[in-house]
């Protein structure tokens, strides 16, 4: 694991030898250096083994091993497609108002002081990455205009491998890490985390997962959040919170957003990126949202106008289809009940798989403690395997984990559970 607190990420632009030749293809730039994840996917695709099990996907998989949309989502889509009042017109660049209103409410709570005081900006974005990018651009251009702020931004170790690139693409090169997952403890190491944040320069941006941390699945407890928010206040840090799979931990949108509400109630200015893909089965339908909680409502219009300007040069406006579904469900109590039922099923299945996997490993006598599997929640969990062991799994057992040793629990099912458990056992007991 790389040393936290250090500047790690260099911009991945290839150094080209010949700038003056014909067009861009006359130059001799090489293909993009694939990230470890991309290389992994490439290997996965080439693996013709029937027994191959890929536990690296980003979506929730059913017991049948397929992604699916919620039954309710399908119904609403049918309804919407027959709705004559929906007109083909450009949206505002900030997106569908009904959607941003609901998305803001489920992050902050309907009775949030910040909402009542009209100091919250909500921007509908084409997905979670887009929300992160918009937030990064906003910070890059407008974080303390006088100070010509340009970072640093702190990311957890490990984190989703696209995060650093997003901030860099927005022009922030100074990306650092803070200690998060501890392989030995198989949990978050709060002490080291606090140590790293304590030494972060004032005005640093800290990217924190409000829930469903990717890729480890290890989330901070309420007590830990209380300590962290105090640190944030004291060290004048700026939190950029993430809710990439809102509702997937407890089946409750607001519960997953609890840390956002804690920060807001402490008067902390923050950004929060949300996605509704997972809990609605709306993958690839661009249901992202960027929330910005400001200190004063007098700032709302200016920040909004600048967000608008940034959006216009990136994608102009977001796409409406998925957002309409989410807005429809969240605005209707009867739909909400139905939705809750379906999400509960997803959440319970993930919990069940964790329990069963833990039990299986225990029965096999697999070395190590596996309690964290059931103490943590959501789609991902970290198996604490090192690089060699992960490679062993893919090469010899055709079981694919993320390079960090984390996996998507929903991809485990009745058909592959034994094989996966055995494989993990082998990886940990075979001397490599």
């Amino acid at each position: 694991m790389s040393r936290p607190g250090s500047r790690l990420y260099k911009k991945g632009v290839n150094q080209n030898e010949d700038p003056g030749a014909h067009m861009f293809t006359g130059t001799t730039h090489t293909a993009a250096t694939a990230s470890p994840e991309t290389r992994l996917l490439f290997t996965l695709e080439k693996d013709a083994q029937d027994r191959k099990v890929h536990l690296t996907g980003k979506e929730y998989y059913s017991e049948e091993g397929k992604t699916f949309e919620l039954h309710l989502t399908g119904k609403i889509k049918q309804q919407l497609s027959a709705d004559p009042t929906l007109r083909p017109e450009y949206l505002s660049s900030l997106g569908l108002t009904k959607f941003t209103q609901r998305a803001t409410e489920v992050a902050l709570g309907k009775r949030s002081q910040a909402i009542l005081e009209n100091r919250v900006l909500g921007v509908h974005t084409p997905g979670f990455t887009a929300a992160m990018r918009l937030g990064a651009e906003l910070l890059r251009h407008w974080y303390d205009v006088n100070a010509a702020w340009c970072g640093p931004v702190y990311l957890s170790s490990p984190c989703d491998d696209s995060l650093a690139g997003i901030f860099q693409a927005a022009g922030i090169q100074d990306i650092r890490e803070y200690y998060y997952w501890d392989d030995k403890q198989r949990d978050i190491c709060l002490d080291k985390l606090l140590e790293d944040l304590e030494t972060a320069p004032e005005q640093s941006v800290v990217v924190l997962a409000a829930s469903a941390h990717c890729p480890t699945g290890a989330d901070l407890s309420q007590n830990q959040w209380a300590v962290i928010t105090q640190l944030i206040l004291r060290r004048r840090l700026f939190p950029f919170l993430m809710l990439p799979a809102q509702a997937l931990c407890y089946g409750d949108l607001e519960r997953d957003a609890w840390p956002v509400q804690l920060c807001a109630s402490n008067g902390i200015e923050l950004l929060c990126a949300q996605s509704f893909s997972h809990c609605f089965g709306l993958y690839g339908e661009a249901v992202g949202h960027l929330l910005c909680v400001l200190k004063h409502n007098s700032l709302l219009l200016s920040v909004q106008s600048q967000a608008d300007k940034i959006v216009k040069s990136l994608w102009s406006q977001p796409s409406v289809g998925g957002a309409r579904v989410v807005a429809t469900v969240l605005s209707n109590p009867a739909h909400l009940v139905e939705w809750q039922g379906e999400v509960k099923h997803i959440v319970e299945r993930c919990m069940l798989i964790r329990e069963v996997l833990r039990e299986r490993l225990r029965l096999l006598g697999t070395p190590g403690c596996w309690d964290h599997l059931t103490q943590q929640r959501g789609l991902y969990c970290c198996m604490g395997l090192n690089g060699q062991q992960v490679e062993f799994l893919s090469k010899w057992r055709h079981v694919y984990l993320l390079p960090s040793g984390c996996l998507n629990v929903s991809a485990i099912n009745g058909r592959n559970l034994s094989y996966v458990a055995e494989s993990i056992h082998l990886a940990l007991t075979t001397s490599l």
Binding site: G12, V13, N14, N16, P19, H22, M23, F24, T27, H29, T30, A31, A32, E59, T67, F68, G74, S81, R87, P88, E89, Y90, S92, P126, F128, T129, A130, R133, W142, Y143, D144, V145, N146, G165, A169, Q203, G281, L282, G284, E285, A286, L294, K295, H296, L299, L301, S302, D308, K309, K312, S313, L314, W315, S316, Q317, P318, S319, V320, G321, G322
Partner: protein
């Protein structure tokens, strides 16, 4: 203290302010000639019948894969839209040197292309490469390239206010005098906002100079089918450049010709020298997309892909597009006829010579102000009108008002 306390209010975008003012106006016969979307003769937005059909098929399809699309987009979409732009028989496609990136609308395609060029064109990160956009051009072009990091956005001569036509001599002279390897944003057809396109002969000359001076061609192609009513005609300039051996980018939008404004259906078509170069370019495009929106939205792309690849739907789509284009052509000829009948001073041939959604009327800002304030007819201060705002019911009022404005205000 808020970290945002020194953030200034950004200037509002003119065309949206215009729509706002129009909405607030209580005048019974007000007319909005600043709209950005197609309108029927009843002044309504129009869901293309073929789109309704395609959407029904998609929403009832049980086998549909509910996964994130690949980063570069829906494969069937990418291949079919590049094909529709370049032609089925395009040698470039047959030689496997055409690639595509599904993007969030035409804007997204321009942005991804711009980011790539900033990183890899004319050396690495050469943000000083001049970007030439037509004078005038779509108001967002400059912003997209600036945001992508380019520092030098320049106009190339285009609209001649005196002749109400193309300043071809000026255009060519800018092509001759600009720095080599400059990037030019060309409107493939239905120039926005002037509606004035080069003739085929003029395009040939433009291509010649651009090839000789090693200028980069970046087409903005938002109106295929919508301009003349014919897909091939509207693609002529793009296809000509490809046939001359240019490597180029083409940002396509399906907002207007599919009426999919709010589904953000766009594509960046890449024509490269050979397959190997194309592969490397696409790999870099993937990196750029990964940090922008990661996976594009699927809905609109599925509609377009299904339509373009099903013969029956494709045929219906061409009809739908022709319907829209024909209505615009009708409004153009009627407006010109009425202005001439009224004896409105000046020549009005440009109304029918121009093509596409927009027309540069040639009205000056004072005359425009008169129209807005006195006649409650809303148009851009540049004199640009959206022909879609005209209907058989309001065209007389508009023609008379223009006549008044031109005679009363100098």
């Amino acid at each position: 203290m808020s970290i945002f306390c020194k953030v200034p209010q950004a200037a509002p975008v003119a065309v949206f302010k215009l729509t706002q003012d129009f909405t607030k106006d209580q005048f019974p016969t007000k007319v909005n000639l600043g709209v950005g979307a197609y309108r029927t003769d009843e002044g309504q937005t129009w869901v293309l019948p073929v789109v309704k059909r395609a959407e029904k098929i998609i929403v009832s399809d049980d086998r549909l894969n509910h996964e994130y699309l690949p980063i570069l987009g829906l494969p069937e979409f990418r291949s079919s839209v590049s094909r529709i732009a370049l032609g089925d028989d395009s040698p470039a496609i047959q030689e496997n040197r055409v690639g595509a990136v599904q993007c969030l609308g035409g804007t997204g395609a321009l942005r991804i292309g711009a980011e790539f060029l900033r990183c890899f064109y004319n050396g690495n990160n050469n943000t000083k490469t001049p970007i030439y956009v037509s004078a005038p051009t779509w108001e967002n072009h400059g912003a997209v390239f600036t945001s992508a990091g380019f520092q030098d956005i320049r106009p190339y001569k285009y609209w001649d206010a005196q002749t109400r036509g193309l300043d071809f001599v000026g255009f060519l002279s800018d092509l001759e005098s600009c720095p080599e390897r400059s990037i030019f944003v060309l409107h493939a057809c239905a120039h926005n906002p002037t509606g004035t396109d080069p003739t085929q002969d003029q395009w040939k000359q433009i291509a010649q100079v651009m090839m000789r001076r090693k200028l980069f061609v970046f087409f903005d192609f938002a109106y295929q089918g919508f301009a003349s009513g014919n897909l091939e005609n509207d693609a002529w300039a793009l296809r000509y450049f490809v046939s001359r051996g240019f490597e180029l980018f083409c940002a396509q939008s399906f907002s207007k010709n599919f009426g999919l404004y709010n589904e953000r259906v766009g594509n960046l078509t890449i024509v490269s020298r050979d397959t190997d170069n194309l592969k490397r370019v696409l790999s870099q495009m993937e990196m750029i997309v990964r940090t922008t929106w990661s996976n594009p939205p699927s809905q609109g792309a599925r509609v377009v892909a299904l339509t373009l690849t099903s013969p029956e739907l494709f045929s219906e789509w061409k009809d739908n597009v022709k319907t829209m284009a024909d209505r615009i052509l009708l409004m153009r000829s009627q407006l010109k006829a009425k202005l001439q009948a009224l004896g409105t001073p000046g020549t009005w041939d440009h109304i029918t010579e121009q093509i596409g959604m927009f027309s540069f009327t040639g009205l000056n800002p004072k005359q425009v102000e008169y129209l807005v304030k006195e006649k409650h007819i809303y148009l851009m201060s540049s004199g640009r009108i959206n022909m879609c705002g005209l209907t058989t019911k309001n065209i007389d009022y508009v023609a008379e008002s223009i006549h008044e404005a031109v005679t009363v205000v100098q």
